[in-house]
Symmetry: C2
Subunit: 350 residues, 2 copies
């Protein structure tokens, strides 16, 4: 199944500008030579930079945009200044118009979300979108959502996130019926907020055919990979994600300091260098770069603003895989099927 | 300043029973030979076990209690069955009666919190208590609260947590004016829930003499140690704590696997063994074992149920330090002073 995929890129987004975007696209192109790119940005910047990447240039079309969205501007202002004309908006618009299957930007998260919502609108039955992240675990990768779009999601939203996370796991991991856990706290009596409890009850009762709800999971289950999908509201999800990143960085620093402490440990480090580089690769944040906006009428991926070309290529690769596996169609099918299950099962169980 | 401290221990609490409690107390006694212990539990169990620890026996008094609180019983049932008579209750009661300066238990968290609230009651001006944890960071230790007692704390509670966390930092770390950050999410536009924003505004405006409010911090600031105290509501705090523990365990597993992968890496591991054991020590969860219940009329510390004797000794050590540094008095002074500042500053700034 090698269908050609077109990906729209906001060439002006990110802390490190067009070079990272083009460098990332070139790496992604080597992995999937049939990919096509639409590059949105200032022609006098993108054009000359692209000249250094002839293979990429042959697979790309540059679309000139006057306006770039600044990294630190407020979303409302970005929307006012950049609607219709900015490279970010037009990269999203390409997905809406069916010209591209997925849009990738390393720009300002809030602006990207605001524009994506405004341009693509939420899917039927979805009130608010979620941002999903790939989470490396002891057992392989999991999907965690929401990591920052919908603060304080209610029970219905948590259920929609479960269905969407499940569809993403099916598209990316090729699992028939992914397991889904609801993130909760383990202190008895106060076990969880009301909304999480209610969402759990409904997920259990509806017993959906395309996800397997396994109950509550806790923060330490994230690293264990207890479930394929972990669902939570955006505040705690964002804090969990950044806490894990911070802890990984902290331990890497401890490890470095420990290895530099004596001559023996330095020699040991040299001998075990291969093992350390495998470890570094395992912990490399660029390998799981990319937050996926779910619940909109089109796929948008947010790359870390400070991503390296390798990291940006990961975000593109994720978009590529989701497009090739028809994630957007899976999402709408699953959500529709879920609505039908809800209608078929009247509230008699209450 | 060597004043003798009496600590009450729930000798029946924890997954591994009386041996861990007594083993931990013995280690703690070696560190502070002037400590006295009140041991609450079944005499026919505690008595014989204590015979193996003569030094500890000489510093301890055993108080017989018929009832033990099970590890998995619901707090409401524990309260019904164990009020007044259980080893857990009576260890707390000893603090209330002024016989002990602090109570330590490795028992059921929910039951311990329920009994502590019922027996000690909350301090004036405190509506709900918090659980504070010591968080090892790149910069030394920080204090994080609440890690699970008050789900969805409101602005006023977050401010009280800030004041109490500051008092704890002064007592434990001997810092004159600890820095305090409010945990928040960094996605623009949706920057934080209303309650966090309101708490931040009030903390900034009141400009307290005993804490330095530094603004919002994010999940990755926890590992960095950006502030001495990090304040959040119990749901996200519990998830952050367990996510960090899980990530540390995950990386330790990666590291082990990497070191076992080749002969060279095994030799490297042997040479760098000292460095690895320093690293292990740095990451050792038993070193920062102990959740401190703040906001009650008396100090109670919850040890991990599965703590080793070394871990239980850490929890005792923390209680010892807090008692010697008069944490309870600092808490009430600071809270009172804070109330005065609030009264002195009418709402003219709004």
């Amino acid at each position: 199944m090698t269908q050609s995929i077109t990906i729209s890129l906001d060439a002006m987004g990110g802390d490190n500008g067009v070079e990272v975007v083009l460098g990332g696209a070139e790496i992604a192109l080597k992995r999937h030579p049939d990919t096509r790119f639409l590059l949105f940005g200032k022609e006098n910047i993108v054009g000359p930079a692209l000249a250094a990447h002839p293979a990429l240039a042959a697979a790309s079309e540059v679309r000139h945009c006057d306006v770039s969205v600044e990294m630190d501007v407020k979303p409302s202002i970005a929307l006012r200044q950049g609607r219709y004309h900015s490279s970010m908006w037009r990269a999203i618009q390409a997905v809406k118009d069916g010209e591209a299957s997925v849009c990738v930007s390393a720009g300002n998260t809030g602006a990207l979300m605001a524009m994506a919502r405004f341009c693509l609108r939420t899917m039927p039955a979805i009130e608010r979108p979620a941002i999903a992240a790939i989470w490396p675990t002891m057992r392989g990768d999991s999907i965690v959502l929401d990591v920052g779009a919908t603060i304080g999601a209610d029970a219905e939203q948590l259920i929609n996130f479960s269905v969407m996370g499940g569809a993403m796991a099916r598209a990316l991991f090729a699992i028939q019926r992914p397991t889904v856990g609801l993130l909760n706290v383990g202190v008895e009596e106060i076990k969880g907020v009301e909304e999480v409890r209610r969402a759990g009850q409904i997920l259990r009762e509806t017993d959906l055919p395309f996800i397997e709800y396994i109950g509550f999971v806790e923060g330490n289950d994230l690293g264990k990979g207890t479930s394929d999908v972990v669902v939570t509201e955006g505040f705690s999800g964002n804090i969990a994600l950044k806490t894990a990143e911070g802890t990984a960085r902290q331990i890497a620093q401890y490890l470095r300091a420990a290895m530099e402490q004596s001559l023996l440990s330095k020699i040991g480090y040299l001998l075990a260098k291969g093992a350390f580089s495998r470890l570094r690769e395992k912990m490399d944040p660029s390998k799981s770069n990319g937050g996926v906006f779910l619940g909109l009428n089109g796929l948008v991926i947010k790359s870390h603003g400070s991503a390296s070309p390798e990291g940006f290529a990961s975000a593109i690769g994720m978009g590529d895989a989701m497009a090739r596996n028809d994630l957007q169609k899976k999402l709408s099918d699953d959500l529709e099927q879920f609505q039908n299950v809800l209608v078929d099962e009247p509230k008699s169980k209450d």
